[in-house]
Amino acid sequence: MVFEIPHIPLGDGVEVIVEWIEQNLGFLLDLFTAIMNILISGIRDVLFLFPPVVFILIVTAIAYFIGRRDAKLAIGVAFALVLLESMRLWAISMQTLSLVLAAALVALVIAIPIGIIAAKNETLLYIIRPILDFMQTMPSFVYLIPAVIFFGLGNVPGLVATIVFAMPPPIRLTILGIQHVPKELKEVGDAFGSTPMQKLMKIEIPSAMPSIMAGVNQCIMLSLSMVVIAAMIGAPGLGYQVLAAIQRIDIGSGFEAGLGIVIIAMVLDRLTQSLTPKR
């Protein structure tokens, strides 16, 4: 007789859980969907508030100021955005951008506080580590399946998958930043009689800022890459155009949309990087 290791149907278990959640917590999911839709459309409305030319001018001005009045950043940003409009990709790009910003916003609002608490709490850190590993190494497509089941097709499932996918780096980098605040600076906080909250807000977070901002940057970049993938479950935008081009084997349209994604990525990357305080 051959001894066989029994087969554990882990996949079946997950299915059962997903089904249960769908049936019993449906109202919560609906509420969440509603809130996310409001967020996305809110951001999109802001992005579409101005015609492209005005928008480009505004962003260029912002780039000029956060780039410490270095014209290089501003010129690069202006050029990239003009290119976007000249390919007639403006509207679809703003669709993508609104999803990216919404996802990154939600991810950061969750991730940064978690990171701060975990940096100070051994137990939470211990629990969170394997979860982060799991979230980061699981192929991103896999998130799409439960997202579709819970939230149907459209914007929200893509958003949720994106949030989950983009959260780990800012959590990790926030933990790292807070843990590496020099001991002497923390002693300064204590020696002058700061409360724990004052110490956090006036010393720890500001001196962890470079690391936290690196997390913000990564979060936004990952959001963008995931939003493109989320086109597979119906998220609108540049990703969808790429997907459609592949299906139609339309090289030109695929290349343009791809270039649009690269442009958005570069603009977002440079802008967030120049927001990072220098040491």
Binding site: E184, V188, D190, A191, G193, K202, P206, M209, P277, R279
Partner: protein, 394 residues
Amino acid sequence: MEEKTKIEIRDVSKVFGKNPKKVLKLLDEGLSKAEILERTGHNVGLYKLNFEIRSGEIFVIMGLSGSGKSTLLRCINRLIEPTTGEIRIDGDDVIKMKPENLRKLRRNKLGMVFQNFGLLPHRSVIDNVAYGLEVRGIEKEQRYEKALEAIENVGLKGHEDSDISQLSGGMQQRVGLARALATDPDILLMDEAFSALDPLIRSEMQDELLALQDRMQKTIVFVSHDLDEALKLGDRILLMNEGKAVQIGTAEEILTNPADDYVAKFVAGVDRSKVLLAEAVMKRPDPVISINSSLKVAVQLMKKHGISSIYVVDRNKILKGFVTIDKAIDGIKENKKIENVMSEDVHKTAPDTPLNELIPIIESHSPLAVVDEKDKLIGVVVRGSVLGALAMED
């Protein structure tokens, strides 16, 4: 200086590790720091310290690396919790304080200056200096006013809006000092505050601290591993070794009377001429002659003691001059008084003059009269005793 006790250290011990109380028992049994580290993995920081720090003094904590200086300093504001013992500041035990009261104490009474300055890189000079006031909840306008005062006090006026990274090391530590002074604390804790500075700047900062102290009269606890610095700054010095107090005393007491071999070795390399003062090597001015006496008595006294000149003082021992034996004998023949033949051109010095300043004078003018600020004769320094004291170090 007042002799009021400001900080009282009672039976303070600190062991780093998982089971410090148990390790304390081993220490009581007489095991050394090294043995304890080997057997238990515990690090002994401090062992049974008992002493007081007086109001208004600069108290220097000295010792080799690892002797427990920083640990002791950090116990005073409880950045480190001692394993046992009491630390009283103005009578209140810091160790028993609730967090709220401890915070109040740190905000109002204690200032600290750090070895690597501990400045917040994301803040300008003035916002660094104002940190302590900000934490107290003082309005911006008021705290900037006080911070500016502190910045002026340390000679950084005009730099208040600079970035920290634009400043040199010496200037950065001035910011650190200004930050500690801005809240006007009674007590300044300084951990190797000048060690990261190069020698010239360090010496400048030491002078500045002494000048500040003249104006402010704080109680300063200063950690240093540099003996010259300790001798220069310290009204009193605590010498530590392996977490224990080896000797407490003034610079002179430690130099002239080292408690044990450790201290003796420590002070062996010191330039004693900078530290030993005239009063340490002076002798009693014996004999002297009153200005109202006759010249005959003066001659008798000189002959009896085998000396060729004698100091003349008045009723209150105020130094008036000196008479040589030749002039005295001539004077007797001419029936003169002491004041007619004495020379008023006496070489004098103050009791707190260091020997290195005396050496060039004493070469040509021995003996030297030591007088207090009222010109009262309190001692004599002769060449032999100066050289003797300097030779003692070997």
